[in-house]
Symmetry: C2
Subunit: 130 residues, 2 copies
């Protein structure tokens, strides 16, 4: 599977909604089609795109052929993102720092007036440690 | 910016290569075009797609109009992936566990014959802690 195919498959809201549904558990094409007010062939087409991208698989054994999420392609996206994490981790750290400064200034003027801003500290960080 | 636009922009190897180049520092369109053996208009077209997707920005001030990575859209992809991390974290944990079992069995039969498999432990885990 290539990142081209994966990103291309993910660039569609219906396909992402199908993945979100499958994140709750494997299911049939019929059940997947229901909330989308789409024909079965239309849903099947989306499933084929997801399947070709390695994002889902369909059982060949069970008669109801359940679909399920395949993690490999999503993991590839995550690995690709690794090269860029430092950009948003850094920039969000700067924002946090700015918000803290802002809040400190406001708190000094208006004590007990503002709710505590939820800021991210290094300790609770979103950053992925290698 | 929508995930549709972001994923669609990322579904192209040249555009991902441009991002990889920009990860090393901001640069001009001329410098970006060089390694691709592409015309400036062709590169500019890719840059416009990346810019519309909020993945890069171009300075309006400096005369050489440097391009740089914008982290927000990449962060959105990362946040979207959060819903699926447990799938590959779990499945890779199962694989790790299987490899460990396999290795333990082989090591017992052929001591000092196999290199140590690099396995991920919970402590060094890839998983993002919230």
């Amino acid at each position: 599977m290539s990142l081209d195919t994966t990103f291309s498959a993910l660039a569609d809201p219906t396909r992402r909604a199908i993945l979100a549904r499958l994140a709750r558990g494997e299911t049939t094409v019929q059940d997947l089609a229901e909330p989308f007010a789409m024909s079965l062939p239309a849903i099947s087409k989306h499933l084929k795109v997801l399947e070709r991208a390695g994002l889902i698989s369909r059982s060949r054994e069970a008669q109801w052929r359940p679909c399920r999420i395949e993690p490999r392609a999503l993991k590839d996206v995550d690995d690709w993102l690794d090269h860029y994490r430092r950009f948003y981790d850094e920039s969000f750290e700067r924002l946090d720092s700015y918000l803290r400064t802002l809040q400190a200034g406001r708190s000094a003027k208006q004590p007990n007036k503002l709710p505590r801003t939820k800021v991210r500290t290094k300790e609770s960080g979103h950053g992925r440690k290698k």
